[in-house]
Symmetry: C2
Subunit: 299 residues, 2 copies
């Protein structure tokens, strides 16, 4: 475990996901090409590919091969990207920059950005239902994957969390509400990434449940450390200005709990994630290393 080269692993996996997205995502053509250009612009804007990497890692823990599940892993990244495009819109968070580049609507206009998000969300389901995966996996398993992704992305997950985020900006909320919001907004798709990977990798029901639990702890630890970075982070590494959550009156963990208790909460969830993996062998080392990295991340 201590020898695990996380940096090399993440770089190799990011390259694998980037190559798959490049290969599988449609090339802009025809009269409708601007929506694909805008989609690709955001899809290749420097994302860390965390969701697909977690998905591939979960598959490997249970003995699956990453290559065969790449389209599903890409679908998770497309859904994440659509959510960023829509969240950045003027009517939502009104962000002009993301990862140091103009946001989709600044680069392509609002209308095309809305449609690019719509297209990414729609095509994500096609990545699971159409193409190569249909040959490699039984249809009922792919339907199950679609069900998991729908639940994690719609009103029971990401969209629901975004609603709470928006509506919390101008009112007092308690820690329980912030946790509920984060579980939906960020946690749902992260833990779905693990669940999908474990399911497609051939995991038993128990293994899938354990990896999903890892995902739930990971999701909260990720969001709490994200909130902390908004205060303590390095602007150059993050590609955005620290303090933007505070400026927008976003309800974050440090705002509600203070910095010390927020760091304790992040540590507790990283521990919870690690404990979930305790019965897995060294195939779970990437997931262990990724979880522990949250405690030292700088961006």
């Amino acid at each position: 475990m201590n020898d695990f080269n996380l940096k090399g692993y993440l770089a190799e996996r990011k390259q694998m996901v980037d190559a798959a997205l490049e290969r599988l995502f449609p090339v802009p053509a025809g009269l409708e090409k601007s929506v694909l250009e805008a989609s690709r612009y955001s899809l290749f804007a420097g994302g860390k590919r965390l969701r697909p990497i977690l998905c591939l890692a979960a598959a490997e823990v249970v003995g699956g091969t990453p290559e065969s599940i790449l389209p599903a892993a890409c679908a998770l990244e497309m859904i994440h990207t659509y959510s960023l495009i829509h969240d950045d819109l003027p009517a939502m968070d009104n962000d002009d920059f993301r990862r140091g580049k103009p946001t989709c609507h600044k680069a392509f206009g609002e209308a095309i950005a809305i449609l690019a998000g719509d297209a990414l969300l729609t095509e994500a389901f096609g990545f699971i239902a159409e193409g190569q995966m249909q040959k490699d996996f039984p249809a009922d398993k792919l339907l199950k994957v679609i069900g998991i992704v729908v639940k994690a992305s719609g009103y029971r997950g990401m969209v629901g969390g975004q609603v709470i985020d928006l509506e919390s900006e101008n009112q007092a909320v308690d820690v329980a509400t912030v946790e509920y919001m984060h579980i939906h907004k960020t946690g749902a798709l992260l833990s779905a990434s693990l669940e999908v990977g474990a399911l497609l990798g051939g995991g038993t029901e128990e293994q899938i449940a354990i990896l999903t639990r890892y995902g739930q702890h990971f999701g909260l630890a990720f969001q709490i450390t994200d909130d902390i970075l908004d205060i303590e982070g390095d602007a150059a590494l993050m590609g955005k200005t620290p303090g933007s959550d505070i400026a927008k009156n976003k309800k974050t963990y440090p705002v509600l709990l203070g910095m010390t208790r927020s760091k304790e909460a992040a540590l507790a969830h990283v521990k919870g994630a690690m404990e979930a993996l305790s019965n897995f062998d060294e195939k779970a080392d990437p997931l262990r290393a990724i979880a522990q990295y949250l405690l030292v991340r700088k961006a």
Copy 2:
């Protein structure tokens, strides 16, 4: 055929679809309830339920029962509704009213409207992949349905058509471009409705192809008559002011072809739709009546 009571049929089918949507679409609850309220607001804003009705009718032509495919029919209406919500946004067509009621963003604000559209699109795929249909249909057929719906809704269909619509507003386009736009923007989801119904109803490959062809002609006839109504329609019946396409510099058939040739084109596509049905028995009478109705519609 001449005796077919289209008005009674459409009313009965609309009621069946409304009841299914009421039953299947989640009830607003929890902290995220506003997004479901906004989704329901637009979902029950008086739509004619044309896409689900066509889907159910196609299933019956090939011997299927409408009840079992209601979730898929509802999914088509949810996708149609999401597209209307996003199309009405200020950054897109900027419409304040639809069917005589304030549009979703006027009633709930832009952010919630964007998210309501996102939720409707996402949950539509859940309607097909989760729940009762999984018990009634083989999984590979449902995956095929999802593939058809993705193709008809994403950049290869509706979203692609919307891009062309937006980008055509301020430039000269020819009739071929307008036809291409309509085939994508409206035609794709309409013909997918027929294809999905025929597939789930148990049609042969040939029957599915024939009913899809009906849908393609129907889609064009529908859009051309829609364009005509924007000039000649009755404001009270339509719930919107005629001339709004022209005011927005939308490229419509009458603008490009003139009224006489537009009416000829509509008639030709209704004939094409009718001819596609020529080998079907009286079970196709609803589809025949719906196609012919396009030539006398007032709203």
